[in-house]
Symmetry: C2
Subunit: 146 residues, 2 copies
């Protein structure tokens, strides 16, 4: 059995995060030592590593919740898992496209800046006037990051 600290170290997850995962029910309630400290089995480590890995790939905790419940039922069809992953891929692709446009615009801004006074600053000028932009990085749908 592992303490919460060891578990965290092995899975690469901070201790408060583990407690948080338990609190929101994505990890089951841990067994306790005589002195009320959490003790974890190897199974718990696997589950936490799964969560960690999925978070690294940008899945939301809600998606991970679904993936975990799928992985708990090995005889079901994997269509649902597949569609969660495809949705995540689509999400990542759309963020990539958007970021690429932002990058282009920022580069344009920075390159054009001659380094004089604010009054002549291209950065400030472009920010103040959207029509000076090349691309249409309009209406942001803001999502959680990575």
């Amino acid at each position: 059995m592992l303490t919460i600290g060891k578990l965290g170290a092995q899975a690469g997850v901070k201790v408060p995060t583990i407690r948080y995962y338990e609190q929101i029910g994505i990890l089951p309630e841990a067994e306790r030592s005589a002195g009320n400290q959490r003790r974890y089995s190897r199974k718990a480590l696997e589950r936490l590593a799964f969560i960690r890995h999925a978070r690294d790939l940008g899945f939301t905790l809600e998606a991970i919740r679904d993936l975990l419940s799928l992985s708990d039922n090995p005889d079901q069809s994997c269509a649902a898992a597949d569609s969660i992953a495809r949705a995540q891929l689509a999400e990542v692709e759309s963020r990539l496209a958007r970021l690429a446009a932002l990058k282009a615009e920022l580069e344009r801004m920075v390159v054009q800046c001659a380094g004089g006074r604010i009054a002549d600053c291209r950065v400030i000028e472009v920010l103040g006037d959207h029509s000076l932009c090349a691309t249409d990085h309009h209406h942001t749908l803001n999502q959680t990051a990575q």
Copy 2:
């Protein structure tokens, strides 16, 4: 003078967001009508459009606060504005690189999934075992999105 609704419509910002910007001091307190409703000048519209545009480009509100105070002092050097923009560009570039790696991994996962049972599902399997990954999308530094 514009009502808060008209201002929002013209700048592409929702009404509660405008009130929020005022609350955190990134927009000055608006003048009020006899009946205590906010009224905005053309100058306020410009300022809000600036904020909106900068948000679209992924700048944080803190960065925008700095950019605004720079733009209020047109005789200063534009070095500070330039460096804020460059920092944002670097940020965007690093997120781009990271997202590209995620995309590759997700594609690998999705493509390999044969569509059978969960027990054979490549998606679930890869999530459960980091060593099945090609790239090193390890340790996420999570930032605010776009």
